[in-house]
């Protein structure tokens, strides 16, 4: 770039000036970093300091800045200069706060500061100002799939916020499971009695909302495009198909009840008097319509004793039934026991439970049921068998530790769980799908290379970043809400749908501006591919955790930038390094690696490269600095967007440059992953497992490249890991590759 004008600013505030020689750093910037301009300032983030920089941009035409001051995570508002490329050298948290203030440490601390400045100078020259994704879409309508409580709530919330909605429901009627209920669990003070579902009113409200277009008896035939420009084909049972253009999608397809016929040991499917909770809701509704008490299904006899069996076919360790707890069923049984107790206190109602789970205000509801005389027995039901007019329930009393029985239960209600309606599990290979008796039916029919539906985490629930970003799925702009995401009750589904709606609106707005959605929300950079170098190896298309990359007929990657979350996993995957971001690429990191001043083999000063995930590991290091948890002066830390973006060329570059060890700090992966980009750290660990062979070929020790899973809270652990590794490197000795680069 001919008109690149570079400048470095070195702050002396926060004690930097007393701990390191900033004049020497300014010299490093101009001599070694080849900066056109280098200035020191006593207090760079002050109005005067910021003005100095702004003046240089305005008058001197500076286009690329390096700020050597605090961490890139601090003072982001003060150091916000739109229109110029900016690199930050972390002298405060990363150097002076992470080093002891002693005379003997002074030399190595200074070297550390110099190196970070060199790295910043190297990086900034390779950076371009991100221009924003050109692949924008302008559709601001929201598609909601599913017309149950979650879907209706989502539609209504979006409409209230001023957005248009298309709501597609498979059946003829709106309302879903909630409409099937006689009453719902209380959701207001005093949480004592079952309440009306309010579904009829909600349906009326949605039906009369001018912003909401209702399409019933319809399914999604095809979904193509990206956030801001999804094209959705909707096939209607009787009538012409429709195509709608929408900006974002909420999948609120709910659940199916677990089939009680699969529980013959609990009398499921064997006796008319053994029903599931949905069955009891039907009985209660019918009875209420007739103005009569609930009768025994087998012969219409009087109900004197009802037994509720909790965890029926749930929390099952044998692998035959659902392994998980559906969470809503304890509350539902308490509510249903009240149907009987409120009508006639003389009816015996026994809830046999293993753990009664009524979180939050559910505790008040539980207490209310106890006051009403519902009996709660901690036990495990062994069998339910038809006997006389009713059933005999045999169970193990877990408090008294003995076998017990209820001889004459007129009605037995099995609390079965929720099975999510999440469509096709795209991780099951096609050969296995072919063997299945019942073929899974796709819900969204995505025209994505990676499969027709959203990826699932476990038990068929859609994958979302459970802890940090629960609404975000692995398909940008498509959100799952309600029991398709995790088992839940009505109150939780309403909250879930509201949250998902707001995220979907953000996604549409970001898509229009060409910016990323979470977690790099607002990021204007996007992956750029040089197709002439591409070898069609498909690694990027296969590994993208968000299904952002399709393939054309020649198997070249086709990037859908609006679907991209900017993690750089494709960049890390690319063996020929043709994928890059304007401000983050193989070159920007490579330049930092090469900029480090490498002491020779006999200096007793090893150099360790730390590639730290910017989401957890880097903040942990910053906080370690704030806590003055010191660590070795031999490390040089480079933040990366995700370990998934680490390209093996950086490892090669670092080893060639003479680094003695490379340490990668990323997030936890596996089923309870913490990775902000879901698969990044997992993919990195797979890639790095192959590095060992390369190291052996180079006659290097396998310990030269290591990785650790760290959390943001590991403020004491991360410095310890670094120090331990530095000691290890000291033990195995300096790299033999020094001095060749």
């Amino acid at each position: 770039m001919a008109d690149m004008k570079t400048a470095a600013y070195i702050c002396k505030g926060c004690g930097i000036g007393e701990r390191v020689d900033t004049a020497r750093m300014a010299k490093v910037a101009t001599k070694e970093g080849k900066m056109h301009l280098a200035r020191e300032h006593d207090f760079l983030c002050s109005a005067a300091g910021v003005q100095t920089i702004q003046d240089d941009i305005d008058k001197e035409g500076v286009t690329h800045l390096v700020i050597a001051a605090c961490s890139r995570r601090a003072k982001t508002e003060a150091f916000h200069f739109p229109g110029v490329a900016l690199a930050r050298a972390n002298i405060r948290e990363g150097v002076i706060w992470a080093r002891p203030d002693t005379a003997e440490a002074r030399e190595t601390t200074q070297e550390m500061a110099d190196d970070y400045l060199r790295m910043g100078c190297g990086e900034v020259k390779k950076m371009k100002l991100p221009g924003g994704n050109p692949d924008t879409g302008h559709a601001k309508r929201l598609l909601v799939v599913g017309g149950g409580i979650s879907g209706l709530t989502a539609a209504l919330e979006a409409s209230k916020t001023g957005y248009q909605v298309v709501l597609v429901e498979k059946s003829a009627e709106l309302g879903g499971w909630t409409a099937e209920l006689y009453r719902r669990m209380p959701f207001r003070e005093p949480y004592a009695d079952p309440q009306h579902t309010g579904m009829a009113e909600l349906i009326k409200e949605v039906a009369s909302d001018a912003n909401i277009k209702l399409i019933t008896n319809a399914v999604i035939a095809k979904t193509d495009g990206a956030p801001g420009r999804f094209k959705v084909d909707i096939s209607v049972e009787s009538g012409p198909s429709l195509t709608e253009e929408v900006g974002a999608i909420i999948q609120a397809t709910g659940f199916t009840t677990y089939d009680i016929a699969r529980l013959p040991e609990l009398g499921g499917g064997k006796s008319a008097n053994v029903i599931d909770q949905a069955g009891l809701e039907r009985l209660a509704k019918e009875a209420a319509d007739k103005g009569q008490p609930i009768r025994r299904p087998s012969d219409g006899g009087e109900v004197k004793c009802v037994v509720f069996v909790q965890c029926a076919g749930q929390r099952d360790g044998s692998g035959r039934h659902l392994a998980y707890c559906s969470g809503f069923c304890c509350g539902a049984s308490v509510k249903q026991a009240m149907y009987f107790k409120d009508a006639n206190p003389a009816i015996d109602t026994v809830v046999i439970y293993d753990d009664l789970r009524l979180p939050g205000n559910g505790e008040d509801f539980y207490r209310s049921a106890q006051k009403k005389g519902v009996t709660f027995t901690k036990g495990k039901v062994a069998s339910v068998e038809a006997k006389g007019d009713g059933c005999e329930v045999k169970f193990r009393d877990l408090i008294l530790d003995e076998d017990a029985a209820i001889a004459a239960a007129d009605l037995v209600v099995l609390a079965t769980g929720q099975v999510p309606n999440s469509g096709v599990n795209i991780d099951i290979p096609e050969e296995e799908v072919a063997k299945m008796e019942v073929k899974p039916v796709s819900i969204l029919n995505l025209a994505y290379r990676q499969g027709k539906d959203m990826p699932q985490l476990t038990h068929g629930f859609t994958d979302s970043h459970f802890i940090c970003f629960p609404y975000e799925t692995r398909r940008t702009g498509i959100y799952s809400a309600g029991p398709v995401r995790r088992p839940m009750d009505i109150a939780q589904a309403v909250e879930d749908a509201t949250g998902a709606t707001l995220k979907a609106i953000q996604a549409m707005e970001n898509a229009e501006l060409g910016r990323a959605a979470h977690p790099r929300s607002g990021d204007l950079s996007y992956p750029i591919v040089q197709l002439d170098g591409c070898t069609q190896c498909k690694r990027c298309t296969v590994e993208c955790p968000f299904g952002a990359i399709d393939e054309d007929e020649k198997t070249y990657p086709v990037f859908n930038e609006s679907r991209c979350r900017r993690c750089g996993t494709c960049m890390g995957a690319c063996p020929v390094r043709v994928i890059s971001f304007e401000n983050y690429s193989c070159d920007t990191v490579g330049a930092q690696i090469k900029a480090v001043d490498m002491p020779d083999e006999f200096s007793e000063k090893p150099r360790i490269l730390v590639l730290a995930c910017e989401n957890d590991a880097y903040p942990a290091l910053d906080m370690a600095g704030m806590q003055k948890n010191c660590y070795s002066a031999f490390v040089r830390v480079i933040p990366v967007r995700c370990l998934g973006s680490v390209n093996t060329i950086w490892i090669t570059d670092a080893l060639n440059a003479g680094f003695d060890g490379i340490m990668m700090l990323g997030c936890k992966h596996g089923e309870d992953y913490q990775c902000h980009f879901v698969k990044g750290s997992e993919l990195a660990s797979v890639r790095m497992s192959k590095v060992d062979d390369t190291l052996k070929q180079l006659a290097l020790e396998a310990e030269r490249v290591i990785s650790h899973e760290v959390a943001i809270t590991d403020i004491a652990r991360v410095p310890q890991l670094i120090n331990d590794y530095a000691a290890k490197i000291n033990e195995i000795g300096m790299s033999p590759l020094k001095g060749f680069a």
Binding site: L356, Y366, R367, Q370, K371, G373, T375, F376, T377, K378, D397, I399, L400, A404
Partner: protein
Amino acid sequence: MGDLNQQMLDKYRNNFLREVEEKVDDGGWVKMCMQCGVCAGSCTFGPDWEHTPQKIFMMIRAGKREEVLGSHSMWLCTSCYNCMVRCPRELPITHIMHGLASYAHRLGLAPKNQPTRDFSLIFWENCTKTGRVNELRMTISVYFREGFMSGVKKMWTLRNIGRGLFFAKRLNPLELFVSHGCKDKDGLRRALKKADEIEARRRGYAVQPRGYSS
């Protein structure tokens, strides 16, 4: 007294929980137990109990009438109130335990030869007779509760303490023959009788004199 038991059996048939709710002091709280086990874990007598409060409550709900009323557990309660202050559902557990013991005793279902129960009865008889506890007589009654020889043995073991008490003027052998009482003994008896009547009326019993039942 067996009549009262039969009467209650007839009245409540197999709904023991309702019987407890209506007849036992603070029995209405039993249904509010959530079986967390904090009482069982807090009890100073923990491992020595036949049934912890948690189990007693569960047995009541399971209708185990004879087992509950015949249990030794309630009689072992030292009234330390640990369970009661810790109960997250704020059940007056100590009171319920005493209520159950008292009810079991009234029905004649309490365990025989239970030391705490025997002591209570001896104490009651001793103190209601004159309105004051005659310590010497009471001690002797307790010592000889299990027979003459065991009484002699116990007295022999504690002879030095007895001597010490005598010289400290804390023990007057004459009390064995003449016990001094309160002023209005008849008034006291009338008050106790009245209290019995009130309680019986409230609980719906036929008026029965208190005392050793079998």
